[in-house]
């Protein structure tokens, strides 16, 4: 049995008659057709013909409606069926209503259920719709947010890219002006930014202010002490330095290593809060890189100045200095070493113009030695003492190159050689002196004894023989006397002396040397005198004649000639020493009177003679010159003012 509401089920019989049978547990209400509205019931039964006109309204089409078809014509049946949702057509009133009611109730219940489900469904649907709407809103919001943040991200990205570009540009900058230009560009879109300032300085020194205005960058230097960097004083300084009033300044310090200090500043007239914030952000992002670049530039500048100073110092050394690698290739030479020549050549090529290392160079073959090297080389007319120190690769003991310093010892060497020569000479002189003294004794004896014997045996031939002996002994004494005088050195007295006499005094000393040669003497100076230190002039004559003798290997002519010549109204005494030896080549002849120029091999002779001779001759107002050509002998011509230094005056 379907469950019913607490009240009894109600049947409404509308129309004619009454049911033949009604269920006992249902309430039956009969009645005529209502005019407007059919009543609500568990079952409505429509019986008989409906009224004409508008049929009453069924309030709820869930109300089950049954129809009795007895007595209805087709038209009426159709009308009712059209109007109402009839679920059962009953043949006649005799049909039992019990099962019909059950069915009706069942139907109604189903209908209710269905309606509930539908309602529920509707509600659910609405809920869903509501949720969907919410979701859409949320999505829309989210999308909006995402879009906003994507825009933001894009902006950020753009800013980052700009910053990266700035950083990479600034790392390659070579001047503070460039930094300013780039910063200016970064702030380009802020039209009310008037100028940009970068100031860098050292505590206790100078601060340089760079100010970009329009296209130009201006500079000014101020004392760092007066530059405190607070906005007010900064404006004051800028106004003073750049000759115009300055507007408001936004200033950001640059992080520099002490004692350096710096700041970057923006001059503006009016800026909104947002703009100020943005500019401040932009500057902040760039402050560190800017500071580093500023420091780098300052370091580079200092390095450059140090490099210039080092170069100048290096070039300022008077002594040549070379830095070479282990292949003797020049890495760096100062001006005295290589002048303006490019490196990339060997040190001996540049310094000495040679194709091989200089003779005596201690570096050749030992360029990679870890020891200090020393040696002596000759380059042209100069002699250098060379010192070379190894340069080690960083932190290792491997030698990567050398520093070589050249000490020009040409004069010093000449001086020491001259001194050596003097010592030699004085040693020889002493020796000669000793020998002379030693010889004097027996000679004295020989001569004296010969004289005594001559007295006792004057008759020839003994007397004559003894005379020869005595004469020979006397001659020996003369030679010894001359030798002693010669070797003892000059007593410095400058006297008027006859040139011919001096020559005659000197020649005996050269007898041995002249022995092999044909000696020709033509002394025509007569009484002509010159003002001279006799001993020194003897040295000169000795030297020249000795050279002339040595010029011939075998035998030849050696001539000495004196005469008086007149030139420009002044009398001169001329002395010539001539030989017909092989002559002197032009290169040597030009350098003949330089000290230590010699045609003899090292060890033979010292070459000092001619330069000393020239010095002596010139000391007494004379001149000496040499005429010679290869194959045509040589002639040395000395000329002295006659009578004294002022020629002609006795």
């Amino acid at each position: 049995m379907p469950a019913l509401e607490s009240s009894r089920a109600q049947i409404r019989w509308i129309g004619d008659g009454a049911p033949a049978e009604a269920p006992l547990d249902a309430a039956l209400v009969t009645g005529a057709w209502p005019s407007d509205l059919l009543p609500d019931a568990d079952l409505i039964v429509l019986s008989g013909s409906p009224p004409e006109g508008e049929l009453p309204f069924l309030p709820d089409d869930a109300i089950p409606v049954a129809l009795i078809s007895e007595g209805l014509d087709e038209k009426a049946l159709r009308r009712l069926l059209n109007r109402y949702p009839v679920f059962r057509v009953l043949e006649n009133r005799a049909v039992p209503l019990g099962p019909i009611l059950d069915e009706a109730i069942e139907r109604r219940r189903e209908r209710r259920e269905r309606d509930t489900v539908l309602a529920d469904f509707s509600r659910r649907n609405r809920e869903l719709e509501g949720l969907t709407e919410e979701l859409e809103v949320a999505v829309a919001e989210r999308t909006g947010t995402l879009e906003a943040s994507t825009r933001e991200e894009k902006e950020k990205l753009a800013r980052e890219r700009q910053l990266i570009r700035f950083l990479s540009e600034i790392s390659m900058m070579n001047a503070t002006e460039e930094i300013l230009r780039v910063l200016r560009r970064e702030l380009r879109r802020f039209h009310r930014v008037q100028s940009l300032i970068v100031a860098v300085g050292e505590a206790g020194g100078l601060t340089r202010i760079h100010c970009s205005q329009g296209d130009r960058v201006l500079h000014a230097d101020v004392s760092s002490d007066g530059f405190t960097g607070d906005e007010r004083s900064l404006r004051q300084i800028l106004a003073n330095r750049f000759g115009r009033p300055f507007n408001k300044l936004m200033v950001l310090p640059l992080e520099l290593h002490p004692p350096s200090r710096g700041l970057v500043g923006v001059e503006y007239s009016m800026l909104g809060e947002d703009e100020i914030r943005e500019i401040s952000e932009i500057l902040n992002e760039r402050a560190r890189a800017t500071g580093m670049t500023v420091e780098r530039l300052s370091l580079e500048d200092r390095l450059r100045r140090f490099a210039v100073r080092w170069e100048r110092t290096f070039d300022g050394f008077r002594d040549p200095i070379a830095v070479i690698d282990t292949g003797m290739q020049l890495l760096r030479g100062n001006r005295s070493f290589s002048g303006a020549q490019p490196a990339r050549r060997k040190c001996f090529e540049i310094f000495a113009g040679r194709t091989e290392p200089c003779e005596g160079c201690p570096v050749a073959g030992h360029a990679d030695s870890p020891r200090d090297l020393e040696g002596t080389v000759k380059v042209g007319r100069r002699t250098y003492r060379l010192r070379s120190w190894p340069v080690h690769e960083d932190g290792t003991s491997k030698v990567s190159g050398r520093v070589t310093s050249y000490d020009d010892i040409t004069e010093a060497r000449e001086l020491s050689l001259r001194m050596l020569q003097n010592e030699k000479m004085s040693a020889i002189g002493e020796l000669a002196g000793h020998i002379a003294h030693e010889l004097n004794n027996p000679l004295t004896g020989i001569r004296a004894l010969a004289q005594v014997l001559m007295k006792e045996f004057p008759a020839p031939p003994l007397g004559e023989d003894l005379a020869h002996i005595e004469n020979a002994a006397r001659r020996c004494q003369t030679i010894i006397r001359h030798l002693l005088e010669f070797s003892r050195g000059s007593n410095g007295a400058v006297v008027l002396a006859r040139v011919d006499e001096i020559v005659e005094m000197t020649l005996p000393l050269l007898k041995t040397a002249l022995r092999r040669h044909r000696q020709e003497m033509l002394l025509t100076a007569g009484n002509a005198k010159i003002m001279v230190d006799v001993h020194l002039l003897q040295q000169v004559i000795f030297n020249l004649v000795n050279n002339a003798c040595q010029a011939h290997k075998e035998t030849g002519r050696v001539g000495v000639a004196t005469k008086v010549v007149k030139e420009g109204g002044v009398d001169f005494v001329e002395l010539r020493v001539i030989d017909d030896g092989p002559g002197i080549s032009p290169e040597i002849r030009d350098r003949l009177f330089e000290p230590f120029v010699t045609t003899k091999k090292e060890g033979e002779g010292t070459g000092l003679g001619l330069s000393t001779s020239k010095a002596i001759v010139e000391r007494f107002g004379g001149t000496i010159r040499c005429n010679s050509e290869p194959g045509k002998g040589a002639e040395f011509i000395l000329r002295f003012p006659a009578g004294g230094l002022k020629g002609g005056q006795a």
């Binding site: 003294h437 004097n440 004794n441 027996p442 000679l443 004295t444 004896g445 020989i446 001569r447 004296a448 004894l449 004289q451 005594v452 014997l453 007295k455 006792e456 004494q477 010894i480």
Partner: protein, 116 residues
């Protein structure tokens, strides 16, 4: 007169001695300073010829070793120079004759003049 010749060169002693003997003088000889000093003391010569440079005692040293003397002293030397002459003056010789001798007889003559 009695003459002493002190010189380490034999030829000088011989030749000077011969020249002096030719002049009629008695000659004693000594070959070095020490022997000369001895001969001086022993023979008491009137005139002494002394060489300056000799092995052992030098001429001046002989003079100062002898001390106060009667004889005249002639110093002879191959060394000519300011120092030598100076020293001689200080050493108290009566005559200084540089060697080599030009003429031995002139030497004798000068010595004889010294004795007058």
């Amino acid at each position: 007169m009695k003459v002493l010749v002190v010189d380490d060169e034999a030829l000088v002693r011989r030749s000077l001695g011969r020249a002096l003997k030719a002049g009629g003088h008695e000659v004693f000889e000594a070959a070095d300073g020490a022997a000369g000093l001895e001969a001086w003391r022993v023979n008491d010569p009137d005139l002494v010829f002394l060489d300056v440079l000799m092995p052992g005692l030098t001429g001046p040293q002989v003079i100062s070793s002898y001390g106060p003397r009667r004889a005249k002293v002639v110093l002879m030397s191959a060394f000519v120079g300011d120092e030598a002459a100076g020293d001689t003056n200080h050493d108290g010789a009566d005559l200084f004759l540089p060697k080599p001798f030009d003429d031995i007889f002139v030497v004798v003559k000068r010595a004889e003049e010294l004795m007058k």
